[in-house]
């Protein structure tokens, strides 16, 4: 019942799209995706990720650039000739057709005879664990079941690329996790190159082999989840993915691998020049994630006053006000008995390691 891994590569080559009004939807996007990879297109709403998905599917003809699937440039092909499977956010199941007819729809369009396509539909419904639902109508199924059907329908045409548009947004939290695992399982089984459009960073980080972060139509970073999370290349990526403390400061000295920064909050720290070379004396924004800050006993680090401590189960988050009046958050794992910090207690903070403090040139 398992398809042979059929993933084809997908290259988005310098794609730019301009709306008729002249506004840029996406600008010079380059993605080189290997066969069988899961890629997440991550970004806030309006960042152009859905436009890019529709360009790949063929619903929008891009202004410039090429889409290459496998060895074929597909720009001239209409959507029905591209063999790109899509799962829509609202699933878009055909309401008047049974589940089995929905799944078999693409096979009928390919002129496959009725007996074969019924057999294939049944096989796919077993694959998505809904073998008993074949004769029902979509509206008789729950949201999660409808999504499985949408997946089976997209997989039925043996697509070379599978596109998922915000596939889990309409599901409640528990079901979402189940479906994420399910999609990942199906993707591993089928080996289909998969692109997931999402605004949910956890989803992107947990599901994808590589994450492409988009903002305002531009590709901010394209890398593995740990690259994106730990080694962000832009201030946007650092703040959009995960939470972070932004601390302004001035570069004291810098080379390519490390920069000494004097924080406005007091204290000098070593940070990683994340967005390219830094110039001495230039203003920077240093990003340190709450879990990468620690309380230190000695005179290193910067001083602050504890405002509030929030026990959030596995972690405790402390809000600390620094000398320059800005607030930072510190997240501590609750190991054994974490010492309670009273409001108003004076503390000193420092990053866990220089590589965990990312310095970006300050934008005005």
């Amino acid at each position: 019942m398992v398809d042979a891994p059929s993933g084809r590569s997908l290259v988005v080559d310098a794609v730019t799209h301009r709306y008729p009004s002249g506004a840029l939807a996406v600008e010079n996007i380059n993605l080189d995706i290997k066969g069988g990879e899961i890629i997440a297109l991550l970004g806030p709403s309006g960042c152009g990720k859905t436009t890019l998905l529709r360009i790949i599917a063929g619903f929008i003809a891009q202004t410039q650039g090429r889409i290459i699937i496998g060895d074929d440039i597909v720009d001239a092909l209409p959507p029905n000739k591209r063999a790109v499977g899509i799962v829509f956010q609202n699933y878009a199941l055909f309401p008047h057709l049974s589940i089995s007819e929905n799944v078999a729809y693409g096979l009928a369009a390919r002129g496959i005879d009725k007996a074969s396509r019924q057999r294939e539909a049944q096989r796919l419904l077993e694959l998505v664990q809904l073998p008993a639902m074949a004769e029902r109508l979509p509206r008789q199924l729950s949201g999660g079941q409808q999504q499985r059907v949408a997946l089976a329908r997209a997989l039925a045409i043996k697509p070379s690329i599978l596109l998922l548009d915000e596939p889990f947004a309409a599901l409640d939290k528990n079901l979402r996790l189940d479906m994420q695992i399910e999609v990942k399982r199906l993707q591993r089984v089928s080996g289909i190159t998969t692109l997931i459009v999402t605004h949910d960073q956890e989803e992107a980080l947990s599901m994808a082999d590589r994450v492409a972060v988009l903002s305002h139509g531009k590709l901010e970073q394209f890398g593995s989840p740990s690259d994106v999370y730990d080694r962000p290349q832009t201030l946007f990526v650092n703040t959009f993915v995960g939470s972070t403390n932004r601390m302004p400061g001035i570069v004291v000295s810098a080379d390519r691998t490390a920069a000494k920064v004097r924080l406005d909050a007091g204290a000098e720290i070593i940070a990683r020049p994340a967005g390219g070379a830094l110039s001495e004396g230039g203003r920077v924004t240093v990003c340190i994630r709450p879990e990468h800050l620690q309380f230190v006993g000695d005179e290193t680090g910067f001083a602050g006053v504890v405002g509030m401590s929030l026990p959030l189960g596995a972690t405790v988050v402390h809000e600390v006000t620094t000398a320059d009046g800005s607030g930072v958050k510190v997240s501590q794992a609750r190991i054994g008995e974490t010492r309670a910090l009273e409001s108003g207690a004076a503390v000193r903070l420092a990053p866990l390691a220089p590589s965990l403090a990312n310095a970006f040139p300050a934008t005005l």
Partner: protein, 287 residues
């Protein structure tokens, strides 16, 4: 279970509130209809002899049956023209921006804003021997003698189609608006071409609108006394005019009443065929 008493209350209120309308219908619709039926059961114009003679007369008279047949056929032709022309307009309406939508809806509604008599006379001007069409064709040298457009079945169908178009287009616009536009994209991405998408997805899902539109258009077209008579002229006789002649000119009230009842039943039969067809297809109410 707790909601049951509340639900029953709602129904009883509803029935009470419907009473004025029910009374109105009883007095002004059901009663006249019964009177009409009672009238049709008389064999003579004076109303002295009971019997089914009027019905027998109609059903055995080739002329009367011919009038009925051509009227029902006229309705079918007008409905078909309205559907074929109205569907693309409704489809277009759902795919253009709000400004063009306003323009389209205005064009669709425009026939309703002018009197039927005025519109019908406009068609006489267009279709007449010296009308716009003939004048244009003649000046282009395409024809030598004027085409006979007025007082033909073709003329009646075209004029009626224009007059009744909003009744088709408006339900279609509503029905197409309920269809998720993603279904179009989904069908396309699954490899279906435009025609397959149209016949397998768009058409079945718009059936409720098609049936509503066809029922309204059909009923309106076959009873359109003014347009039928003015464009059809004296040579073409349809049921409304036939009825009018019997009642008003010949004063044969029992026969006119029988014609009315037969016409009513024929229309009901056609309408129920439409509805049954719709219910048989699973697209009905599926969207």
């Amino acid at each position: 279970m707790g909601a049951a008493p509340a639900a029953r209350d709602v129904t009883s209120y509803g029935m009470g509130l419907a009473a004025p309308l029910a009374l109105f219908f009883l007095v002004f619709f059901v009663a006249p209809l019964l009177q009409l039926f009672w009238l049709s059961l008389h064999n003579d114009t004076a109303g002295l002899h009971w019997g089914l003679g009027q019905y027998l007369h109609f059903l055995t008279d080739p002329f009367s049956l011919g009038v009925l047949g051509s009227t029902l056929l006229l309705g079918a032709e007008v409905t078909a023209v309205c559907l074929v022309l109205g569907f693309p307009i409704a489809w277009l309406y759902q795919r253009v921006g709000p400004k063009l939508q306003t323009v389209i809806i205005l064009i669709v509604l425009l026939p309703l804003l002018t009197s039927v008599v005025v519109r019908t006379f406009a068609w006489i001007v267009i279709l007449g021997r010296q009308g716009i069409i003939n004048a244009t064709l003649q000046s282009l040298g395409l024809i030598d003698t004027p085409l006979k457009l007025l007082y033909t079945q073709f003329g009646v169908v075209i004029a009626l189609a224009q007059v009744q178009m909003p009744l088709m287009t408006l339900p279609l616009i509503t029905a197409l608006g309920r269809i998720d536009p993603n279904l179009d994209d989904a069908s396309c991405s699954l490899g279906a071409g435009s025609w397959r998408t149209f016949f397998r997805i768009l058409l079945p899902l718009s059936l409720p609108g098609i049936i509503a539109g066809c029922t309204l258009t059909y009923a309106a077209a076959i009873t359109a006394f003014i347009t039928q008579s003015l464009i059809g002229g004296g040579q073409m006789l349809f049921m409304p005019m036939y009825l009018y002649q019997q009642a008003s000119t010949l004063q044969n009230w029992p026969f006119a009443a029988a014609i009315s009842i037969i016409f009513l039943l024929a229309v009901l039969a056609v309408v129920s065929v439409f509805t049954t067809l719709g219910r048989m297809s699973r697209g009905y109410g599926g969207a």
